[in-house]
């Protein structure tokens, strides 16, 4: 197993907390009546932060709809992300991408609006790396719902056949919108499908940040050394509904008790306890991280709100490259 140092552990913790406050901040803005598309990350912070932390700056991430850990983990400033979500010019897509967060410099390759569309694109990035004889790798995130899209299967087959430097990270939060995956999915462990595509499939506890980091580190190493792709299934749970407007998730398609059970497995509280237990940090030090993250998000909101919208001319530009 890859060794994880103190600095990395604290970075993971800090970013998980920043992500949690970002998520809370977006929910707060939604409650104020702002129009933002939000697929809450609450409960899924471990994998979404740990995996990008295991990546190199030159590695590419193919994000998916449930965010925003892949962005924060890859180095995006929450104020830039918030600005984009509310259509401001200071956003990472100049206020025109909204929820489709992307950043060329951070190698965040664009969060798609169509489930699984980005996964073959990620395989194309991996093919490009191979053709250019570069040493980078790709991580493609997707959910359990998207894992049933044909695109995922086509993509995994090509990655396996051509031994491409890509890691497939499936966050299995057990529900696709309002449908439990037990109703629609042929296997209980999605990692079982990996062997059909010529790659190892690993199921991990998706709420264990340290496991997420170590597994991703190893898979990325495999990818980079020419041994081909890996499929990681991170079993987890979304504490909120599908979107901020999901009114059905408590008592309609899942029970309140089930949600309460999973709240006890909160990945942030879990990592916090672990860090204290391992003497990586004291409770006071972690409290300080929490406090700073909360302050940062207050500032981020202000920055986003105070930023200008793009001009009409800017709204209509960038359809074509000149």
């Amino acid at each position: 197993m890859a060794k994880i140092d103190k600095e990395t552990l604290l970075k993971i913790y800090r970013n998980m907390v920043r992500l949690r406050f970002l998520d809370d901040k977006i929910n707060e803005m939604l409650e104020k009546g702002m129009r933002i598309v939000q697929h809450s990350t609450r409960g899924q912070e471990a994998t979404q932060i740990a995996v990008p932390t295991a990546m190199e700056p030159g590695d590419y991430v193919m994000p998916y709809h449930r965010g925003w850990g892949w962005a924060i983990g890859k180095g995006m400033d929450p104020k830039i992300l918030l600005s984009e979500l509310i259509g401001k010019k200071t956003g990472c897509c100049k206020g025109k991408g909204g929820v489709h967060i992307a950043d060329w410099n951070l190698r965040i390759m664009g969060r798609p609006g169509v489930q699984a569309a980005h996964v073959p694109i990620g395989v194309g990035v991996a093919l490009s790396i191979k053709l250019r004889k570069a040493k980078d790798a790709v991580v493609a995130f997707f959910g359990d719902g998207a894992s049933n899209e044909g695109n995922i299967h086509e993509a995994m087959n090509m990655a396996g056949a051509w031994k491409l430097p890509i890691v497939f990270v499936n966050e299995n939060n057990q529900y696709a919108l309002f449908t439990p995956n037990i109703e629609t999915t042929s296997v209980r462990d999605l990692s079982d499908r990996a062997q059909g595509y010529g790659m190892p499939g690993i199921t991990i506890d998706g709420n264990d940040a340290i496991a997420g980091y170590e597994t991703a580190r190893e898979a990325l190493q495999r990818a980079r050394s020419g041994q081909g792709p890996t499929f990681i299934e991170a079993k987890t749970y979304r504490i909120h509904g599908h979107t901020g407007f999901d009114q059905f998730h408590l008592g309609v398609y899942r029970s309140k008790e089930e949600v309460e059970e999973w709240k006890k497995k909160d990945p942030i509280l879990r990592l916090r306890a672990r860090l204290i237990e391992m003497k990586t940090a004291t409770a006071a030090q972690l409290d300080d991280i929490d406090k700073k993250a909360k302050e940062e998000l207050e500032g981020a909101e202000k920055f986003a709100m105070d930023s200008p919208y793009p001009t009409r001319e800017e709204i209509f530009s960038d359809v074509y490259a000149e």
Binding site: C92, D103, V123
Partner: protein, 324 residues
Amino acid sequence: MAKKEMTVSEALREALREEMARDNSVFVIGEDVKINVWAVTRDLHKEFPERIINAPLSESGFSGVGVGAALTGMRPVVEIMFNDFLLYAADSIWNQAAKYRYMCGGGNFKVPAVFRIAGGGSTGGNGCHHGQSLEAPAIHFPGLKVVFPGTPYDAKGLLKTSIREDNPIVFFEHKLLYGVKGEVPDDDYTIPLGKADIKREGKDVTIVSYGYTLQKVLKAAEDLAKDGIQAEVVDLRTLRPMDTETILKSVQKTSKLVTAEEGTKIGGVGAEIAAMVAEEGLQYLDAPVKRVAAAEWIICSSAYGDQMGIPQVADVVQTVKSMF
């Protein structure tokens, strides 16, 4: 300037060979691109073993692979064997390639990918799953450029330009056009996108066409000349962006407009041309616009039946004559 006579298929292969030799980032991916049913990419793998990649039967998947490679420094030429399979790839091209630049990063991403697609009917017996014309839906998507050459010269020059473009290109080819011969210069030349070409000058009627139908229109123009009607034939070459200026100039000269295409009429390319002329050049017309297009049918899957609904030379001649 030295010239050689060659087929459209050979001209396309020349374009690919020259661009692959010129630029290491150009590669080809598609089903059976080493032997290749259309012979366009045949044997190029002997020269470029790493850059001619046989893909699995996964049109959506390998078109997406093209998008990803294009985003990160490569210039993929993706071959989709039949037009009809484009609908599997539609998301990767229409939803992803077309929108990336605008939607993601506000102009920091580019998708220099070419999607080559063989279309068109009348190869006999293949019918509606191997013979449709889908260029009309393709032109509906901002972010894409749509090219459809009608001669070997244009095929080579337009493909070379398309490969060098920083935008995603849907590059239609017609199966019956692959064997059509014409002169192609030996030197390195490109043809700008968005520029139509007047293939035959005339003063009495403007016929706007492209692709394989262009060849039929040129024959029809010869027949019409025998009856004293001088047709001006405008070859669009690029369907999006469309060279409206050349069309309007020609209509101003002839006062009559006919469009000719192999796809169906409702929502077709001719509909777009007619609407554009109605908006910008109605005053030039002295007769209603006529559209020659396929019947509103499903392409019959028999060699006997398929030609009945696809516009032929006689349909063009008859339509033009009805205007005089």
